[in-house]
């Protein structure tokens, strides 16, 4: 999460493959429509409605696209509402999942978009 400060971190909330997820909004380059002729974007599973993709900064100045169902918006999350992976799940969950945010007593899994399986890097 790159926008961490005392006030918190901006998290882009979205739904993909039936999961409600969040990602560092500071790493997002743009949110775009996914056209059929565009290269296949990475997903977290079977995208239901689809049609949207998040283009995020990856390593080495590349960008990567992740196909999602719905963009829910951006929320500022306080540092005290961020949680690491519990010990039971360390190394045992989707490699893109890096932790959780507590939002109104429910949890949102936070993901590193560049770690989504199948994400194809493009020159930035």
């Amino acid at each position: 999460m790159s926008m961490m400060g005392e006030a918190g971190v901006d998290v882009l909330l979205f739904e993909a493959g039936g999961f409600r997820l969040g990602a560092d909004a500071g790493a997002v380059v743009r949110v775009a429509s996914h056209r059929p002729e565009d290269p296949q974007a990475a997903t977290f599973g079977a995208v239901r409605s689809g049609g949207r993709e998040i283009v995020a900064r990856g390593r080495g100045g590349t960008t990567q696209a992740v196909s999602v169902d719905t963009i829910l918006g951006v929320r500022r999350v306080k540092p005290s509402d961020l949680r690491p992976l519990p010990r039971f799940l360390l190394g045992r969950v989707h490699p893109a999942v890096i932790g959780f945010a507590v939002l109104e007593e429910t949890l949102v899994a936070l993901v590193e978009l560049s770690e989504v399986e199948g994400a194809e890097a493009e020159p930035g």
């Binding site: 949680r83 989707h94 959780f100």
Partner: protein, 164 residues
């Protein structure tokens, strides 16, 4: 003196072997199971569960309880005996084992139950599914009570939670 010391070592062990043991009991598909009560710190109403990508069906997701993120395990699914019905009234046990914390759900949580000294028999040999994790069996008026080796069960569950 040596003979006296040998006898003194035996006494606590013998006493422990004969002590009553308290278990936390629950039902899965009419069968009664139990785990050592010392592993179960609390029983709560199941909080909202957040599903996670790339996890097996027995790992329903994670839930927040008093600020702690806890994985939720459906014991019925893990033991291959079906699926626990999750409703707004579903209750879950919080198990703390070897540094791991897990919320587990079953068809019905019964609560604490004491098995009298000598009441626990060795498990049947072999078998798959639940039998793989049974460390002892008690025959009671309410039916057979199968005691699960919770550390081994959770260790196996974690091993089967392979990232995808």
């Amino acid at each position: 003196l040596r003979a006296a010391l040998d006898r003194s070592e035996d006494r606590p062990a013998a006493a422990a072997a004969e002590a009553d043991v308290e278990y936390f009991c629950f039902r899965i598909h009419q069968a009664r199971y139990a785990v050592l009560s010392s592993y179960v710190s609390e029983v709560i109403r199941l909080p909202p569960v957040t599903a996670l990508p790339g996890t097996p069906p027995f790992l329903l997701g994670v839930a927040a309880h008093r600020g702690e993120v806890i994985p939720v395990v459906d014991l019925s699914r893990f033991l291959g005996t079906g699926t626990a019905a999750v409703t707004a009234r579903t209750r879950a046990g919080i198990a703390r084992v070897e540094g791991m914390v897990v919320l587990f759900i079953a068809d019905q949580l019964e609560g604490l139950h004491t098995v009298q000294a000598g009441g626990l028999l060795p498990p049947p040999l072999g078998g798959e599914g639940p039998a793989e994790f049974i460390s002892g069996v008690a025959t009671e008026a309410r039916g057979t009570l199968s005691v699960l080796d919770l550390p081994r069960l959770l260790s196996t569950a974690r091993a089967r939670t392979v990232k995808r």
